[in-house]
């Protein structure tokens, strides 16, 4: 019991279970799952599907934060990727109802993901090559990124008329939402890569003490660069899913505040913002918590505007719980009466 309590995933899991229980009490149909036309339906599946883009971005963000970095440009990268994909696929509604894409879909997808990875590598180059603080290095792309996305879309909201593209956001694979399957595959593969190869150890070493890691022979610069590139790639995947979901690319609003949600998901999952300690599983649970919270707020009939305040309250609580000074202060208050 004590070991379970001390496990780093205990609190994130408990929060998620609590939220789901709250939903189940308020809305009895919440936990029910049904098969329709070979697809799994239900509120839980819906949450899983909607949490996919956030989970992907957060996975990339986890690794960057673990190596003492931060990427606040992911929202802008989502907008750029969505714009690129929408521009390359485009498609037009013909009179006979036939639709066609401007370029083959595989090309558009690869190009969009390539652009996203390039954005990530640019961030990485600024951090590793130029030696900027991560917040500032990624701030540049955050500021310019939406401008670039608007440049690509020409200031319009690009609508996509190409049904095969919609599979990414609303298709089903093995009866499960494709986006959720994709996010799961990426995170599980990543987890395998980090535990089966020394990569995870290297990232921890860089996060705990960059100088010591370098002296110990960890090639921290290429690794850090690659982590930023990967974070860009995950933001790109999220951008494709999001644009496929809404069947359009909106340079101003796609991925708005996504960087904040991603950082929140990472923190909720127990990853230390100071680097070193990280948990991919925790991040995935963190993303699910945020999405469940959003759904809860909708289902409770609370105005969705309150969502932001809820999230802020969550950040404050998690932040304070992670602060050793706060724990010491609480301990003093709690212990004193017992003496």
């Amino acid at each position: 019991m004590k070991r379970a309590l001390q496990h780093s995933l205990f609190w994130p899991c408990a929060t998620l279970v609590l939220l789901i229980a709250l939903n189940a009490v308020v809305n009895p149909g919440f936990l029910s799952l049904s098969m329709r036309e070979g697809h799994l339906y239900g509120s839980l599946v819906d949450i899983l599907n909607r949490a996919a883009p956030l989970a992907l971005v957060s996975a990339g963000m986890t690794l960057v934060i673990a190596a003492r970095g931060l990427d606040i440009s992911v929202g802008a990268v989502v907008a750029i990727t969505a714009a690129t994909a929408a521009l390359l696929i485009g498609g037009a509604l013909n009179f006979d109802g036939e639709t066609a894409s401007r370029f083959p879909m595989w090309f558009a997808l690869l190009a969009a993901l390539g652009v996203a990875t390039a954005c990530g590598l640019w961030n990485g180059a600024l951090v590793v090559g130029v030696g900027m603080q991560p917040i500032i290095a990624t701030l540049i792309l955050m500021v310019a990124g939406r401008g670039i996305a608007q440049l690509i879309t020409g200031g319009q909201i690009l609508t996509i008329y190409y049904p095969p593209y919609f599979y990414l956001g609303s298709g089903y694979l093995f009866g499960l939402p494709f986006a959720a399957v994709l996010a799961t595959v990426v995170i599980v593969t990543l987890h395998g890569l980090l535990t089966l190869t020394p990569l995870g150890l290297f990232i921890r070493a860089i996060g705990i003490n960059p100088a010591a890691a370098r002296i110990a022979g960890v090639r921290s610069r290429p690794i850090t660069l690659a982590l930023y590139g990967f974070c860009g790639l995950t933001a790109g995947l999220a951008g494709l899913i999001i644009s496929s979901n809404v069947k359009s690319a909106d340079a101003n609003n796609a991925g708005q505040l996504l960087e904040l949600d991603a950082i929140l998901a990472v923190t909720l999952g127990g990853t230390a913002l100071t680097g070193g300690r990280f948990s991919l599983a925790g991040t995935a649970i963190g993303a699910l918590i945020i999405q469940t919270l959003t759904s809860t707020i909708y289902s409770l009939g609370v105005p969705p505007e309150v969502n932001l305040v809820f999230k802020a309250a969550l950040i404050f609580v998690v932040m304070l719980l992670q602060s050793p000074e706060f724990r010491a202060a609480v301990r003093r208050v709690v212990v004193r009466p017992a003496e």
């Binding site: 917040i135 401008g147 505007e305 309150v306």
Partner: protein, 322 residues
């Protein structure tokens, strides 16, 4: 090259850039050099001036304040709701909101100092709180018809030759003067620079590090609230979507003005030049007529990049090899 010279290099570069842009504007568009174009820089960017000045002090301590845009929006929202819907007197609302902004900042500063939390995350959460409270008050824009605000909106300070400054611009200029005094002639200002240089040394010297940090964030919150009032007058409305992304513009202005993000080095005057540069970019885009508004963001991003790289070169690579 002595230390003082080195510190002035970024400021000199910003001023040179500003002059170059003005020269380009004057060369390309004959109407560009009229005095009112420059006065408009102060009128249209009054709130950015005020916010960026608060941000300068925060960045000088080595911190950052991402909540300013949302606090500004919350101020416009509260002002509109209290004056128009609740019917409170503006003479009560204005001081109340200024104190409220300072208190909001002070709480953030307290969390940052007392519990050693990262300024970035604390003010990020503060940004959520303030923006969320805006939505709670109202999701729609609230127009203002109160005589106090409409009179201020129409008030102009004539400067001769048909040129004039708005009340917001006058407040911004007064803020700049006050900030120059605080930064360079007050004990508080010197402590801010000392903390940014090295917080531990400042503490060992007996300087009140904690109190100063809290006051710096309070100052930034106060500036955001003041800017919010200026924007309320400028827009004559309270809206939860006012000033989205303003924190980025403010940070950009501070950086372009030559303040080092690591803290300890920078000038309030530099920040003013930074705001002017952002304003001139916008003016040039408008004068051009064919360029779309998003070019402003791209150019600001490019400038930010250039200045950050230049900063790194000035700092020297040797000391960063930790």
């Amino acid at each position: 090259m002595n230390v003082l010279d080195r510190r002035l290099v970024p400021l000199a570069a910003s001023i040179a850039l500003f002059l170059a842009m003005v020269a380009f504007g004057a060369f390309s568009y004959p109407a560009f050099l009229s005095p009112q174009v420059f006065l408009n820089l102060a009128i249209d960017n009054a709130f950015l001036f005020i916010v960026a000045i608060g941000m300068t002090f925060v960045i000088l301590t080595g911190g950052i304040d991402l909540s300013v845009g949302s606090v500004l929006a919350l101020t416009t929202m509260c002002a509109a709701a209290l004056v128009e819907k609740a019917g409170w007197s503006p003479w009560l609302v204005v001081p109340l909101l200024l104190v409220g902004g300072a208190a909001f900042g002070a709480v953030q500063g307290l969390l940052i100092h007392r519990f050693r939390l990262q300024p970035f995350i604390v003010t990020l959460a503060g940004m959520f709180v303030a923006r969320g409270l805006c939505y709670l008050i109202d999701t729609e824009s609230i127009p203002i018809r109160n005589a106090f605000f409409t009179t201020l909106a129409e008030a102009r300070l004539p400067l001769g030759g048909g040129n004039a400054l708005s009340s917001g611009a006058v407040i911004a200029l007064l803020t700049v003067i006050a900030a120059l005094w605080i930064a360079h002639a007050s004990r508080f200002g010197r402590t801010v620079y000392a903390i940014g240089g090295n917080a531990k040394s400042a503490a060992l010297m007996g300087l009140p590090v904690g109190g100063t940090l809290i006051r710096v964030y309070a100052l930034s919150g106060f500036c955001a609230a003041l800017a919010g009032l200026v924007m309320t007058v400028y827009m004559l409305s309270g809206y939860s979507l006012h000033a989205t992304g303003l924190e980025l513009d403010a940070i950009a202005a501070v950086v372009i003005g030559g303040t080092l993000l690591t803290g300890g080095v920078g000038y309030v005057a530099g920040t003013c030049v930074g705001v002017l540069i952002l304003g001139v970019i916008q003016t040039l885009v408008i004068f051009n007529g064919t360029l779309s508004s998003w070019w402003t963001r791209i150019v600001v991003g490019m400038l930010l990049f250039a200045f950050c790289v230049a900063q790194r070169l000035i700092e020297g690579r040797a000391e960063k090899r930790r």
